[in-house]
């Protein structure tokens, strides 16, 4: 018992681990709540593209030696609104439009970063996250913007629910469909931006989708999906970070692998929806 406690407390002696754990907790929670809409509205590819398309903003901020966060924020908002606009107006299909933009934007980011000498180390941090390098300023920015996003999700709960479930009904109620859809894109963009340092570009979509998808298998109401998703996201983040501390693997990868573990468990054993359950029902 004492040993177990020691195992849990030991990493907390390092301030960078405490900051990393706090950042992971916040990011895990936020990504799962916003990810609920990503999963329900089939926006996984949009989330992935958004995370990649932010790279040029990060690169420019890096070259100008300002906090990478601001570069990501500007680029994230531009991309979210741009993709939203293109997918409504474009002659090509939505996923094609997203594919073209995100690959081009990502390439531009890599090109910009490759002009710097320490290119490979920095690119690795941006791609896969560096949660142990989180500063106090980063923590405050994450907490502040995270609260704004959660407040929007909370205050517009019933409107975002009906727009997602039944847009036709929402239109007959004269709800501002376009504004609400753009708002959702912006909320996803903000979530991606504040999570960038902890999770990195490449694994972002997993944090958006995996905990929310796990919760989807376990519930039948939207708010329950958000709460259970948040709990799974937070638990994955903390467990993943401890795993990375003791087994010495990359933190972002460890977090995603733990979250995937939860998903597999739910996929197999979820009451009524799990594979094992259906198999037993099929035999009975």
């Amino acid at each position: 018992m004492g040993n177990l406690l020691n195992l849990l407390v030991e990493p907390l002696r390092y301030p960078f681990m405490v900051r990393g754990l706090l950042a992971s907790l916040m990011v895990g929670t936020l990504c799962a709540v916003v990810g609920t809409y990503v999963v329900l509205r089939g926006m996984a590819f949009f989330g992935d593209a958004l995370a990649h398309a932010i790279l040029p903003g990060v690169a420019v901020a890096y070259l100008l030696a300002v906090n990478l966060f601001w570069g990501a924020l500007v680029m994230g908002l531009i991309t979210a609104v741009g993709i939203g606009y293109l997918s409504r107006r474009s002659q090509v299909k939505e996923d094609t439009a997203i594919g073209v933009i995100f690959a081009a934007s990502f390439a531009l980011g890599v090109a910009l970063l490759s002009t710097v000498r320490s290119y490979s180390v920095d690119l690795t941090h941006i791609l896969f996250g560096n949660v142990l390098g989180v500063s106090n300023t980063d923590l405050l920015l994450t907490a502040g913007l995270g609260l704004v996003v959660l407040a929007a999700v909370f205050l517009l709960y019933k409107e975002l629910l009906v727009v997602s479930f039944d847009p036709i009904m929402a239109a007959t109620l004269r709800l501002p469909l376009d504004a609400l859809n753009y708002l959702l894109l912006v909320l996803i963009a903000l979530t991606v931006v504040v999570s960038l340092q902890a999770v990195g570009v490449a694994l972002m979509v997993a944090m958006l989708v995996t905990p929310a998808a796990t919760a989807y298998l376990l519930t039948r109401r939207l708010w329950q999906m958000m709460i259970i998703g948040a709990a799974i996201g937070a638990a994955s983040a903390v467990a993943g970070l401890y795993l990375s501390f003791y087994v010495n693997v990359a933190s972002g990868a460890a977090v995603v692998l733990v979250a995937t573990g939860f998903f597999v468990l739910a996929f197999l054993f979820a009451p009524a929806r799990g594979v094992v359950w259906s198999w037993r029902r099929g035999r009975a």
Binding site: L40, K158, D166, I168, A171, L222, M225
Partner: protein, 255 residues
């Protein structure tokens, strides 16, 4: 008595081509109207224009302040969405609750009453996709009632539901008549339209005929609406050919 609903020379384009041309009719409070016509005759377009989903090129729809509730075709929502029957009916209260506010006990009371009216109280906690097609229709009727709608537009409520469910929906509509709720239903089933509704609107881009359910369908009006696709079978019955296997039937439901 003044009509509760007045549609006046309504003209609607759909994808650039005219879908409805100069449609005019009026409905008294509490009447039940069946809108019939071949595929693509503009039945859905008519309803969508009436609730403001499509903007008419010309003409108007007046309801004297009465709220119009719309029950869309079954295929138009995601049935696997994590919402319960209670949640779906509560969506009807959004306008009354208002922005940045939460449901009040009075809203929950309205939802309970509306669920009771359609006989779905026992299913309040079920996920919407776990219900049969007919039960889903009843839930969406309850949602329209929760909007305080006194005019109900239902697009193809009988397609893809079995006969007992169809009967259950018709019984609910009978009950609504007692509360003076006006109902417009689009359907393919001419016989059902003649037997169970007060008035009949025969549509094919234009309003071919409009009048009491019995007597509006004649060999002439039938030929005008369906061309060679319908057979005249005497005073009350008509058989529509080549038009049966269409939209929304055999819609699978998930869950």
């Amino acid at each position: 008595m003044a009509p509760i609903l007045k549609v006046d020379s309504l003209t609607v384009n759909y994808d650039g081509t005219p879908a409805l041309e100069g449609v005019s009719f009026s409905v008294e409070a509490g009447e039940r109207v069946a809108v019939v016509g071949p595929n693509g005759s503009g039945k859905s377009t008519l309803f969508k224009a009436m609730v403001g989903l499509l903007r008419p090129v010309a003409g108007s729809v007046q309801s004297n302040g009465a709220k119009i509730g719309y029950v869309s075709q079954r295929s138009e929502v995601d049935w696997r969405f994590p919402v319960t029957v209670h949640d779906v009916v509560m969506m009807g209260r959004i306008a009354q609750i208002g922005w940045l506010r939460w449901q009040r006990p009075s809203d929950r009371e309205v939802v309970r009453r509306c669920l009771d009216q359609v006989g779905m109280t026992a299913f309040a906690g079920r996920q919407i996709g776990e219900l049969s097609g007919g039960q889903q229709q009843r839930v969406f009727i309850a949602r329209a009632l929760a909007q305080n709608a006194s005019i109900l537009l239902m697009d193809e409520p009988f397609s893809g539901v079995d006969v007992p469910s169809q009967e259950a929906i018709l019984e609910i509509l009978d009950g609504l008549r007692q509360q003076n709720v006006t109902v417009l239903v689009s359907t393919h089933d001419l016989n059902l339209a003649v037997e169970r509704f007060d008035r009949l609107a025969l549509l094919n881009h234009r309003l071919i005929a409009y009048g009491p359910a019995r007597g509006t369908i004649t060999p002439a009006t039938l030929a005008a609406a369906y061309g060679g696709q319908a057979l005249w079978r005497g005073e009350d019955y008509a058989l529509v050919m080549g038009d049966i296997g269409c939209c929304g039937e055999a819609e699978s439901h998930h869950g």
